[in-house]
């Protein structure tokens, strides 16, 4: 019988500390004469695990799932055979609540679905509601909305890059990206007073014009941001660990990506040059000079490259928007849509009536329906609104890009290792507030 030499078992076989405070080395198992009985070594033959599949549960509270996502994985060894995602832990019924709210009252709800992209959601909802009302917004408002959308794209991609880098074990880019994101938040705070839940738009305009000197702050950001981005790029793009952990993972061919309804950087990384801003433009995006970033391999690494490039393109758009920002009113001059200034509402009879009607009844669109899509950082975000002529929508449907991108995860993780599931899941850039709504 072989005598064991394993330290753990020797330590376990002692009874503990003696009266003098020193560890007692008396074996627990002794024979009649007080001699230690050698411990039996475990059989050296490993059990045959072939063919046995294991079920493993990730989430809903796992930090690497970026929210309350739950993945049930069937593993063969360390390889994923099947993945069953579960969503809905954050479901709050936004669409149902929207049916009980006036159009302007819904805008704060749009902050909270994709909360990394609040200004973008506000703009998207306002665009949809304005289509439904038949309103044409002012030129200054159009450019301000472009600025809001591109700032929020940068903000969202920065969070994506930072958290994904943390998932793969790189902590430094996280600090840099969150530092830059803080600058964007400061700009937004100066504009509307809020950082995360901006509620930046109203039907027919914005909540406020940008304050004096705000544009200078934006110019400073436009100058400084590419430098930080270049640092992060130096840190990651040719980093052997980063490349090794992202290349060739979660590949979707272009046909698959289209068929699965992917959108945004997920679709473009697969080599499909589809961007709502180019193909179904809004807010005069066709008049800006910028390029669509397209990948070729459709893997996690290409999604990273596409998002990096998109941030630089956003800076290009921002620069042009700042240069062309026209003077003039921000809101449409229509008292049936836009609230009068408070001073007028308390001093002029007519303004008071408009104020009362707008607050108590809300603006009423004609009977109709529309689907308005914008390119959010996650993909094609659309609002489908149906009106029956009352001041509240009959149906307010959010087309959630993260939800539909996430639905392809079983296809993407199949055949990959368990640790790659984290990388693939991170590359989808999900925000559970939007997935569950």
């Amino acid at each position: 019988m072989p005598t064991t030499t394993r330290t753990v078992e020797v330590a376990l076989s002692t009874s503990g500390i003696g009266p003098d405070g020193r560890p007692q080395r008396t074996p627990l198992v002794v024979d009649d004469r007080g001699h230690a009985v050698p411990l039996e070594a475990p059989p050296s033959v490993e059990p045959d695990m072939g063919g046995e599949h294991m079920l493993i549960n990730i989430g809903p509270q796992h930090p690497a799932t970026h929210g309350v996502l739950r993945l049930v994985l069937e593993l063969d060894g360390e390889t994923v055979v099947r993945c069953i995602p579960h969503v809905g832990y954050l479901h709050c019924g936004f669409e149902k609540i929207g049916e009980y709210r006036q159009y302007n009252q819904i805008i704060p709800w749009t902050d909270r679905e994709d909360y990394l992209n609040s200004p973008g959601n506000n703009v998207a909802f306002a665009l949809g509601a304005e289509r439904l009302f038949g309103i044409e917004i002012t030129p200054r408002c159009t450019v301000l909305r472009v600025i809001a959308m591109e700032l929020s794209r940068i903000m969202s991609h920065l969070v994506w890059m930072g958290t994904t880098a943390v998932d793969m074990g790189a902590f430094t880019p996280f600090l840099w990206t969150f530092q830059e994101r803080e600058n964007v938040y400061n700009l937004l705070e100066g504009w509307c007073g809020a950082r995360l839940t901006t509620s930046l738009t109203r039907v027919g305009g914005m909540v406020a014009d940008v304050p004096d000197g705000w544009v200078d702050g934006l110019r400073k950001f436009i100058k400084g941001f590419p430098i930080t981005l270049a640092e992060a790029d130096k840190m990651l793009t040719r980093n052997a660990i980063w490349v090794g952990r992202t290349v060739g993972l979660g590949v979707m061919t272009s046909d698959e990506a289209i068929n699965y309804g992917l959108s945004g950087p997920m679709l473009r990384a697969s080599g499909v040059a589809y961007d709502v801003r180019k193909d179904f433009p809004y807010l005069d995006y066709e008049t800006y000079d910028w390029d669509v970033a397209v990948g070729t391999h459709g893997d996690v690494y290409d999604r990273y490259l596409v998002r990096m490039e998109e941030m630089l393109q956003s800076i290009r758009i921002l620069q042009q928007a700042v240069d062309r920002l026209p003077d003039g009113p921000v809101n449409v001059q229509d008292p049936r849509i836009i609230l009068p200034p408070k001073s007028k509402a308390t001093s002029e009879m007519e303004s008071m009536i408009h104020h009362f009607k707008l607050v108590m009844e809300g603006p009423r669109p004609p009977v109709g329906e529309c689907y308005v899509a914008v390119e959010s950082p996650k993909g094609e975000k659309g609002y489908y609104m149906v009106s029956d002529g009352t001041s509240k929508p009959v149906r307010w449907r959010i087309r959630p890009p993260a939800f539909i991108n996430l639905s392809a995860i079983p296809k993407m993780v199949e055949g990959h290792l368990l640790s790659d599931v984290i990388a693939i899941n991170a590359s989808i850039d999900i925000v559970m507030g939007e997935v569950d709504r």
């Binding site: 068929n259 397209v294 899509a373 029956d388 087309r399």
Partner: protein, 232 residues
């Protein structure tokens, strides 16, 4: 697993001037999407109406033929609606009005947008064919529509609740007869939440993953299927 090297460019099948931001869109009327006429020519009676509202073409179609239409739109060289944007439903406040199931389709090569709509009269079972065989992306959209409205999608591989939990008994939240605060009282909701068995959130399909379920004795299987706690 072989990546495609060819870059697909939206709008490449119909080269024309770059699209522009639409302005001054009329409320009703305007040029309908040419695909609406093509659908009518191909499917005849199954297309009952074509509307243009706010510049978007809506084709009201026979619910039973939806999958054929979507498949034809997907495959026909002159249409190529390869991108399914959304599947959802609309119920109106007037409960007499039929429930509408809406498909939003995009043709990336031709840069077109089309809305298909099927009207499901009240009183009849809410059933439409699933477009999952054509568009894999329809999977979760149809599950959500079933979850929220109770519309059954015939031919969907795994039609079960997605946002609400599987034992949810209050009905379909986005239906107009469903009150905003839910059907059950707060006390009842709390009681059910406390009594809920989290392990029962594994669907029967998942339990069968380890192929243990079918090996269990009959009586235990019935108890598990009814959501009883197993007790470790």
């Amino acid at each position: 697993m072989t990546p495609t090297s060819q870059i697909q460019i939206a709008g490449s099948a119909a080269p024309h001037d770059a699209p522009r931001t639409p302005t001054q869109i009329p409320h009703r009327g305007g040029t309908p999407n040419p695909s609406a006429e093509a659908l009518r020519a191909r499917f005849g009676d199954a297309v009952s109406r074509v509307d243009v509202v706010w510049g978007e073409t809506t084709v009201v179609v026979d619910a039973a033929r939806v999958r054929d239409m979507v498949a034809w739109l997907h495959d026909d060289a002159g249409e190529r609606y390869d991108y399914l944007v959304d599947v959802t439903a609309v119920e109106f406040r007037d409960l007499e009005q039929p429930l509408e199931v809406v498909w939003h389709l995009r043709s990336l090569p031709y840069r077109r947008f089309l809305r298909l709509k099927a009207l499901l009269p009240k009183g009849a079972p809410l059933e439409v064919p699933s477009v999952w065989p054509v568009h894999k992306g329809a999977d979760w959209m149809e599950r959500e529509c079933f979850d929220m409205f109770g519309v059954r999608f015939e031919g969907h591989p795994d039609l079960r609740r997605i946002l609400m939990w599987e034992q949810y008994k209050e009905g379909f939240p986005l239906r107009k007869d469903f009150p905003l605060r839910g059907r059950f009282s707060r006390a009842e909701q709390l009681r059910q939440a406390l009594a809920a068995n989290p392990e029962a959130r594994y669907s029967m399909e998942e339990i069968s993953v380890v192929e243990a379920f079918s090996d269990l004795p009959d009586e235990m299987r019935q108890r598990l299927a009814s959501g009883e706690r197993t007790g470790e």
